[in-house]
């Protein structure tokens, strides 16, 4: 810049105040969208109810505190921490279930993940949250199957099968990191969870649309950072 003049970066000051505001708002929009890697603002077609969202955020926070309080003891392990200054931008992604087919003994839930981040992020952890209904006395076995689309066939294949014992009503968590990582590596945006009960119990879930006990998956991801060294 010539001596005594404004810097090139401060050219904004020369604009009229209304034009200045428009430029700044446009800059703010562009900046936020580019940092979130969004080509345009998303159109929200199925907003989640406030109660459902608040419940999910509280559960996430409670689990984070539990994990922080007892390192290494939480099921599924703790989230690895990067060295200061080396970590990429981190994301926590909440995916709520879409209900699928169900019978008297089984319930299917579908989760669709965010794939804008898939190519350039690593999955640190993914946790499935389920709210069990209050069963009659005693323990009740539930078989949880994580189903993935088979790239070579029209059907799904069982990626993981786990048997759980439900003893009381309330929230339960299940580590699904491996299944989500596998989906990401295959570029498949959908995970199906099948819950099967032994019989006579009915649906194991207390859930309905708009319900604050709706199942969800929390995925923690981190943007990959380039470790390439550059010589100047």
């Amino acid at each position: 810049a010539p001596r005594g003049a404004w810097c090139p970066a401060c050219g904004l000051a020369a604009l009229a105040s209304s034009a200045q505001r428009d430029v700044l708002v446009a800059l703010a929009k562009q900046s936020i969208l580019s940092k979130l890697r969004l080509p345009d603002r998303p159109n929200v077609t199925q907003p989640v109810s406030r109660g459902t969202l608040l419940t999910a955020l509280r559960r996430m926070r409670a689990r984070r505190l539990d994990t922080a309080g007892s390192p290494g003891t939480a099921r599924g392990g703790t989230v690895p921490h990067a060295q200061p200054g080396m970590a990429g931008q981190e994301y926590e992604i909440l995916s709520f279930a879409e209900s699928g087919s169900s019978t008297s003994r089984s319930v299917r839930l579908h989760f669709r993940f965010s794939w804008e981040l898939a190519g350039s992020t690593e999955i640190l952890q993914a946790t499935l949250y389920l709210f069990w209904v209050s069963p009659s006395s005693g323990t009740h076995p539930v078989t949880v199957r994580l189903l993935q689309p088979d790239p070579t066939a029209p059907n799904t294949t069982t990626a993981i099968e786990t048997r759980l014992e439900v003893q009381r009503a309330g929230w339960a968590t299940l580590d699904v990191s491996r299944a989500v990582r596998s989906l990401v590596s295959q570029g498949t945006p959908r995970l199906t969870v099948e819950l099967e009960v032994a019989g006579g119990w009915g649906s194991p879930l207390l859930a309905g649309h708009g319900d604050s006990h709706w199942p969800f998956v929390v995925t923690q991801a981190r943007a990959r950072t380039s470790h390439r060294l550059q010589r100047r």
């Binding site: 001596r3 810097c7 401060c10 700044l24 929009k29 979130l36 159109n43 907003p47 995916s95 709520f96």
Partner: protein
């Protein structure tokens, strides 16, 4: 760092708030209600170069070297952010998932001359 006042033309931090409701973004950004963008504006005469915050930077050292060796080649410095913090967002993505993230260096807290 100095916040801009009416009469000063020196390097300062100008506050600027983008209200998400005003720009029609409140349907996909759940929190916060707006973005404290802020920016740096104002004159940076040569004697102000390197203050505050950037005194030890590589760029200041180069500038000082130029100043010391050739006064005619001296250039004015620029008013730039010297301290920034992240913007925490909770928003819907294109698949109607809810994403929570901190975008680094989005909010200007302080300005200074390079």
């Amino acid at each position: 760092s100095i916040d801009c006042s009416g009469d000063s033309r020196m390097c300062c931090r100008k506050e600027f708030f983008v209200d998400f409701k005003e720009i029609g973004w409140e349907d996909w950004i759940i929190q916060p209600e707006g973005y404290h963008m802020n920016y740096c504006v104002g004159l940076c005469p040569l004697h102000m170069a390197g203050i505050p915050g950037l005194a030890a930077s590589f760029h200041t050292a180069v500038l000082n070297l130029i100043k010391a060796n050739n006064a005619d080649a001296a250039v004015d410095s620029c008013c730039v952010p010297t301290q920034r913090r992240p913007l925490s967002l909770l928003y819907y993505d294109r698949d109607s998932n809810i994403v929570k993230t901190d975008i680094p260096n989005m909010i200007v807290d302080a300005c200074g001359c390079t």
